[in-house]
Symmetry: C2
Subunit: 338 residues, 2 copies
Amino acid sequence: MLNTRRETILKSIVRQYIAKATPVSSQSIIEDNRLGVSSATIRNEMAYLEEENYITRPHSSAGGIPLDKGYRHYVDTLEETALPMVDQRLVAHLFHQVERELEEWLNLAATLIAQLAQNIAVITPPKPPAYQFKHLELIALHHSLVLIVLVLRGARAREQLITFPEAIPQWDLATVANRLNSEYADMTSPQIAARNAQLSPAEQQITECVLKMMRAEDNQQYQDPYLDGMHFILNQPEFAQSRRLLALMELVEQRKLLQHIMPAELPFRQVRVVIGRENKAEAVQEYSVVISQYGLPHEAIGTISVVGPTRMPYERTISTVDYLSLVLSRLVAEVYGR
Amino acid sequence: MLNTRRETILKSIVRQYIAKATPVSSQSIIEDNRLGVSSATIRNEMAYLEEENYITRPHSSAGGIPLDKGYRHYVDTLEETALPMVDQRLVAHLFHQVERELEEWLNLAATLIAQLAQNIAVITPPKPPAYQFKHLELIALHHSLVLIVLVLRGARAREQLITFPEAIPQWDLATVANRLNSEYADMTSPQIAARNAQLSPAEQQITECVLKMMRAEDNQQYQDPYLDGMHFILNQPEFAQSRRLLALMELVEQRKLLQHIMPAELPFRQVRVVIGRENKAEAVQEYSVVISQYGLPHEAIGTISVVGPTRMPYERTISTVDYLSLVLSRLVAEVYGR
DNA sequence: CGTTAGCAGTCGAGGGTCGGGACTGCTAAT
DNA sequence: ATTAGCAGTCCCGACCCTCGACTGCTAACG
């Protein structure tokens, strides 16, 4: 275990390194904290911290920089701080200005988090264990081309075009829609598949399409998150030579980032911090992830996270993620009717 | 004007520089083309090209690199080449594998273009001069919360939540929806606004919401393009020190890229190339843009473009953009019923 | 007069050296 | 356990040098 002084020193190193991205010297630790000791004493303590792998040094006569273990200790002993009121008000204000539509909220949330944490923000939409059928609408566009609008529980609407063998008049479509709406109300895709009602060929075709759409939603675990803030990363000195950035960028564009940063377990509405090598996936082992779930337990869960270099402002990031996960949870509760 | 030999030399310089990103020496021009002259002669001609601002040199004893004017001449004298059949087949194949849904198509198209041109692809969805009302659906979610699903011409559906002062039963909503559907069929937002029918308070509230949604779509000129391929840019040697990239990245994330690259005039289905300083906006003057419109003239027009460093493979990029604009136009025609 | 061989001149890249500055590790004294 | 003091380490930037790649120029040639 670390005694008080060593802990103070470690924290000071982490704090200063996060702020300045240069190795922290024994002298600057003295200036940062008013411990009444000399720099030589600090150096002795730093030797211990290095021994114990909390910190390392770029070369033998340089200052200390935190290792993953050092960041971990820093994060674990961080007392929770709320997001500053100014920022809370800013968030509230912006959410009030925007249309009441899930997509807009999540876009806004991503931009806000990226801005506040000065790093990449990744948000997945809230998703229930299995989507429930809410409403179906069939709209004849022309000839035999029909637009299917499927509304799932949680105000989630999806569209899809379908072509029938022959033209079907709109009122027939309305009949079909009514039939299927009463048949499938509030069911999940397995339930619909098991239902096996007596269906006309047209109804059959539409049911299959609906099933396909619902299954696609159910399976869409990590697809298409809302994402913002890539440009902040470019500003970080550790990415001046853009090599490391490339791997991350590709993950982002291939929409694989999320499955790489998702920790094995993640309790609801509790902010988790995964630091550097603690990440399973190799491609993100130079990054840290601050992640939390939001939504309604057992009904619709989304995740909200920040990805940035291990040298990131954890305190601020954690409180930002925590606060936004609260805000988004409230919004979801509203859509799902408490 | 350039005589044949000078033109051959200029083209060779552009071609080689695009391929290798290093200054082109007189010797390598001889190896590239079988002009039966010595390197000294080439050097004399290069001096002329430099005089006329077709090329420049990084320092006095280095080879030539093209200037915007050189690229411009190269592009203008390029004979049109079709996309290789292999790639055409690849594109056709992939489009057949995907659901018939506008969003999916455009996502796929963006990925494909980025891949084929090895640069950033930006695609805007097809958009008519003014959207026409097609269908409206009202779905009671719970209490007084209602989901409005608005379908516009061209299979474009939009959702929006709305809260009423008090709960309204689903059958009332259906009546309202029917009423408004027959009232507003095929109208544009100004027409609906001018209509001024006798409306109940609920109908009034919904009409206003619909108008808001339609206007939002109408105004959404440059919003939310489909975008892919940022990571290719990172690989280019000219962006090794990521300074220049930053400005571009910010444009992308603020969704302002498109309005910066859009040329003043752009004839339908004709590929335009805007090179470096020819761009109006300063932030993209180190980039070239290959851009074309697609869709149905007077009905629904989208743009499809590639953004990359001025040193980009123009030939391939142009044929890619041209071909994809053809493919997307066909798909749009299908959705709009020829 | 266009073309060319040949050569001197230019510039960048890469490697080596050097000195100053920022720190540390160590030691001996407290 | 703490500290002052000092020698030692290493980075960084400046400077210099050399090598090689190309060019510009000039004078000669058909």
